[in-house]
């Protein structure tokens, strides 16, 4: 009986999360802020790196993994801001609260929507890096696993800090200060893993991928636990 109830509430959690994710993605499909503004911004960052680092001496190709993840990180800040900005219009936040959804489900839904948008962004930026920086990909499996684990970590941490800052005065300037130091291990691990995957020995990347996976699981779990309380406090 209780096992059944538990199974049912877990199923509910996923169903509610899917609803929230679908809602956020539907808003994105109609407003096209990620595609129309955040994505071009990411490409612009990739382009500006070529001005900062001499494109003729192969520095870009060597630095490509780090530059790629810096661009993703900057785009994430915008995506998180956007994800919580859509809740401020027309009392959407109150609507979502009154809908009786579980806090953990709202967290998973919003994080999933951000993750899906990040994946699109990473594909485009990845193609941009390969084309513009003249990079070869050796270990496709390593690159894909790294991107997957890092994206889950980025999206869940971003959502967690997004709700923490949501509704606060000064949230736009506070969010990067809170989020970037926490994401430093993701930046570090994803860059090292990409270096191995793109350049030399893809096999060396797996410890980093494991670290990224641990980070992703940890922050997703904390998000599921803490989101409800923070969501209630957000004004």
């Amino acid at each position: 009986m209780s096992a059944d109830g538990e199974r049912e509430s877990t199923a509910n959690l996923w169903r509610e999360a899917a609803l929230v994710a679908a809602k956020d993605l539907r808003i994105e499909a109609r407003a096209r802020v990620t595609l129309g503004q955040i994505l071009p911004f990411g490409l612009l960052v990739i382009l500006l790196f070529a001005f900062a680092l001499d494109p003729d001496r192969g520095i870009l190709a060597r630095a490509a993994p780090g530059l790629f993840w810096i661009a993703v990180l900057l785009a994430l800040l915008l995506a998180v801001g956007r994800s919580f900005a859509i809740e401020t219009h027309h009392s959407a936040r109150d609507g979502l609260r009154l809908a009786g959804l579980d806090g953990g489900a709202i967290f998973l839904g919003k994080a999933a929507a951000i993750a899906i948008q990040l994946v699109v962004l990473e594909v485009v930026l990845g193609v941009g890096v390969v084309v513009l920086y003249d990079v070869n990909v050796h270990g496709v499996g390593v690159v894909l696993s790294t991107a997957l684990a890092a994206t889950v970590g980025l999206a869940s941490t971003g959502t967690l800090y997004g709700v923490l800052a949501a509704g606060l005065r000064l949230r736009e300037t506070l969010l990067p200060l809170l989020l970037l130091p926490v994401l430093a291990p993701v930046m570090l691990g994803a860059t090292r893993a990409f270096e191995d995957g793109l350049g030399g020995t893809p096999g060396d990347a797996w410890p980093w991928v494991a670290m990224l996976a641990v980070f992703a699981v940890l922050y997703t779990a904390m998000g599921v636990l803490a989101f409800g309380a923070l969501w209630e406090e957000a004004t």
Partner: protein, 251 residues
């Protein structure tokens, strides 16, 4: 719930304890200055620059202790049975001191690094993770400065402290894998005596004790300041309401 906050502990330490602690702190700091500058011999290799270690090592130790206290106090606040504004104030006060001691450790380390390593800053594991720790809790302090409903804000701050603290071991190990150059810790090493000259080891311990006393003293003072700040905010709120409603309030 709001009313329950007023009669909570107004001070952390009883006045006689605090005064005794203040005297002990001053005496131990004076002893540290004496031993650090004159009592301990100059290092065989590093010369007088090594004396900076008597401040750098205790500052770094205190930084870690302070952040641990912030995390523990935040957990105690979040746990319903121990929830009290006391823990929120302790968490905030300790984080402020932690950020200060972290900055001190980084600056002293840089000043020491220039003559000994030949560089102000190295991309060494412990340096990088300490710098990240500094920014992690600087963000936490920025969050704390944003006013709001007291109980809600305290809960938010406590959650923020814990999710930042979880990052500390991840930062530590990831950066450790990345690079390591820093010398191994000496104070807590079991092979203390063969590594450091007796007086030098004594001075290092003296620094650790003096800084720990200073930390507790400052924590108490900062706690008291937090209580006064809350009181002022409440008085201002009452006055603002009185002005709006036109009802006079007594002095």
């Amino acid at each position: 719930m709001m009313d329950g906050t007023r009669d909570q502990k107004d001070q952390l330490l009883l006045p006689p304890v605090r005064r005794a602690l203040g005297v002990m702190t001053a005496v131990s700091l004076a002893a540290l200055v004496g031993f650090g500058l004159w009592g301990a011999p100059p290092d065989a290799v590093q010369g007088d620059a090594q004396r900076l270690m008597y401040l750098h090592v205790p500052a770094a130790w205190l930084a870690y202790l302070a952040f641990f206290i912030t995390a523990a106090a935040s957990a105690l606040f979040l746990w319903r049975r121990t929830r009290s504004p006391v823990w929120d104030r302790v968490a905030g006060a300790s984080a402020e001191l932690g950020v200060m001691f972290t900055a001190l450790a980084l600056v002293l380390g840089a000043v020491w690094g220039k003559p000994v390593w030949g560089i102000w800053w190295a991309w060494d594991a412990r340096l990088v993770s300490t710098a990240l720790l500094f920014f992690l809790f600087l963000g936490y302090l920025a969050l704390r400065r944003i006013p709001g409903d007291p109980v809600g804000a305290a809960k938010r701050n406590a959650i923020a402290a814990l999710i930042a603290f979880v990052d500390v071991p991840i930062v530590h190990f990831s950066v450790e894998w990345w690079r390591t150059l820093h010398q191994q810790a000496t104070v807590f090493s079991p092979k203390l005596s063969p590594q450091i000259h007796g007086v030098m080891g004594l001075t290092l311990w003296m620094g650790t004790i003096a800084f720990t006393l200073l930390f507790v003293y400052l924590l108490d003072r900062r706690y008291r300041l937090a209580v006064l700040e809350e009181g002022r905010a409440e008085v201002e709120l009452v006055r603002a309401i009185a002005e709006r409603t036109g009802v006079a309030v007594g002095p």
